[in-house]
Amino acid sequence: MTVVVRTITRILFPISLVFGGYVIMHGHLTPGGGFQGGAVAASGLAMVLVAFGAKRLAEKKGLLSALESLGGVAFAALGFLGLGLTFFANILARSGGLFGGPVPYGPNPGELNTAGTLPLMNWAVGFKVLAGLGAVVLLFALFGGENDR
């Protein structure tokens, strides 16, 4: 594409990644979560693909599928983490450790270090959705793109 699109993509791609990370990270406090943040970050990836062509990203296909498998395995492992009680039991909530802070009842300003395994699951699912949607868009672009620069 033209230099205008490339320059705007260079500016907007980090911003979209950071915003996607923010939506994933605050998934247990504000509207959003893993799926939404992953979709936002994947839209940034699609923008790079439109601006710079698919050939330059062709060797990243293995990385994307590895990242997606890693996210799926991490999500299932976090589900198995609570197997002492039940599957998907949240044993980290209110435990005092990682993401185990106390939360006051009722409306509150929101503390990031709460909610147990939910933020970790948000990150796993966010990486999974980011890699999955990015891989789908990349495969579409690679299949049809014989004559792009």
Partner: protein
């Protein structure tokens, strides 16, 4: 007073998708029709969970008054949206491959089962 207008709007979206499926022959337009039906169903699910005067089911800086909107339809709509994205990607991939093999997207000309 709007009555049941949100439900009616969702059903109009579903009916538009059905109309697209009945009349169009282009495979891409069929995918668009299925997407319309998905959007109507998702909007219908979310509007089923609305409580009059409700606030979002999130406690961060929540207003003190008002009941909370039912959260379960919203959670299941999230599931439905992701599954819709997955099926749309699969359908578009099939459309691309069919165009590559047959040279056309007309649903009437690709009815033969020969490879």
């Amino acid at each position: 007073m709007i009555g049941n207008l949100p439900f009616v709007v969702c059903m109009i979206l579903v009916a538009l998708g059905l109309w697209t499926l009945v009349t169009k022959r282009n495979l891409i337009k069929l995918v668009i029709g299925i997407g319309l039906i998905e959007s109507g169903v998702n909007l219908f699910l979310v509007s089923l969970g609305y409580v009059r005067g409700g606030i979002p089911p999130i406690y961060t800086y929540a207003p003190a008054d008002g009941p909370m909107v039912l959260p379960t339809p919203q959670a299941l709509t999230l599931t439905s949206i992701v599954i819709g994205v997955a099926t749309t990607a699969l359908m578009l991939a099939f459309a691309v491959v069919i165009y590559r093999h047959k040279g056309t997207l007309d649903a009437r000309k690709i009815r033969d089962l020969r490879g």
